[in-house]
Amino acid sequence: MVEKKKIEVVISSFHLDNVLKIFDKHGIDGYTVIKDVLGKGERGLMSADELTDAFKNSYVFTVCDEEVAMKVVTDLKPVLKRYGGICIISDVMWVLR
């Protein structure tokens, strides 16, 4: 087992791609996405029950090295600022397979 950082992001499904592009840019080649996540935040209730998908979030997490995580965070900030959403980081132990 090795120490890693887990980055979790919740963002409007429309803008998930922006997050994935940032992951890609920093060489992150593994992540997991849960679509159709609801939530509440500054931008109000995301109830995911519209026809438009306009009120639908996605949740994505990735496990990566600390230095990569820091770079990702720097790039994520303007995205979160423009499109909303949250990002949290935590410590995990990654089980080598």
Binding site: S12, D49, E50, T52, A54, R82
Partner: protein
């Protein structure tokens, strides 16, 4: 007579199911049509409308009359978002102005088919090319809205640098609803009688039942949004009710000037009056994230849509009836 028409309209199962959906939220029954079933209904309706329109078009052919209607549709789809923009800008910031103008400049397919069912119950016909007109009217408002944004926004660089017009055009024209309508129209047109025979049982015979099912859900969604109407404010509530009427009137005047048939004039008025709650909101979320979706979606879904299918249809019909007699 207006009251008769209203009753005639409301006593249709689809409209009644819409009302049932709304009441369901007020009585907090917890009735839900979980995703992606609403998507199934909306895909179904788009394909059905498209194929049927294409089939009708294959029978009538593309005449100069048809081209007149299509031209008129394009004209409306260009003018409505422009004058809406200037009205809205009086009170709102640029972003919300753009989003709402685009919403009202575009159309709602469900309003269109509800109007079609209403006309049918009155025994009046309209041309299959009206579906082509509808398809043409979906996208221009998105593009016009974004042009307006670029012309009038103070800071052009809002985070993402240059506007990629090619991409925006692609997104406006090739968004899912427009695309599905377009190909279904084309398939209906090209396979004509033979294709129709194969598709009719699913896409026409069941149509009204599916519409009823879908409107039940639309009622639920609309009613859930009603809580947000307070936040929308009186100005926008007024806009959501009067703008459709204004657009319908404008469209009826044009229609009578260009000698459209009664049925076509009515359908064009309904298109002008309707506001988009699928294609445009999706486009706005992507391109104008600064605009508040609780405003434009609530207006289209919880104010204009219910208004149009209950009061609007008989109202627009009365006006058309006065002119065409």
């Amino acid at each position: 007579m207006a009251f008769d028409l209203m009753l005639q309209n409301i006593l249709n199962p689809p409209i009644l199911f819409f009302i049932a959906g709304m009441l369901s939220v007020f009585f907090r029954t917890g009735l839900e049509i979980p995703q992606p079933l609403p998507k199934l209904f909306s895909l179904y309706l788009l394909i059905a409308i498209g194929i049927h329109g294409g089939y009708e078009l294959s029978k009538s052919g593309i005449t100069t009359d048809v081209l007149t209607v299509l031209g008129l549709a394009m004209l409306l789809a260009t003018l409505v978002p422009i004058y809406s923009f200037f009205i809205l800008r009086l009170r709102l910031d640029i972003y919300n102005t753009v989003a709402i103008a685009a919403t009202y400049g575009s159309i709602s397919a469900v309003t269109f088919v509800t109007a079609g069912a209403f006309l049918e119950s009155l025994g009046i016909k309209f041309g299959g090319y009206m579906v082509a007109a509808m398809t043409l009217m979906e996208s221009p408002a998105i593009i016009i809205g974004l042009i307006m944004l670029n012309l009038f926004a103070n800071t052009k660089n809002n985070g993402s640098g240059e506007t990629d017009w090619k991409e925006i055009l692609r997104e406006a024209v090739f968004n899912p609803s427009v695309y599905l309508l377009m190909v279904s129209l084309f398939i209906g047109y090209i396979t004509a009688e033979k294709g129709w025979k194969a598709m009719e049982p699913l896409f026409w015979t069941l149509f009204k039942g599916m519409l009823a099912f879908f409107l039940l859900d639309m009622g639920i969604i609309a009613a859930k949004r009603i809580g947000d109407v307070k936040k929308v404010g009186m100005f926008l509530v007024g806009f959501g009710v009067f703008m459709p009427v204004l657009n319908a009137l404008f469209s009826i005047i044009l229609a009578s000037m260009f000698g459209l048939s009664k049925g076509d004039a009515f359908m064009l008025a309904v298109l002008a009056a309707s506001a988009s709650y699928i294609a445009v909101p999706a486009a706005m979320r992507l391109s104008v994230p600064e605009a508040n979706p609780s405003l434009y979606i609530t207006m289209a879904l919880a104010i204009t849509f219910p208004f149009n299918i209950t009061f609007g249809l008989p109202l627009y019909y009365s006006i058309v009836n006065m002119i065409w007699g």
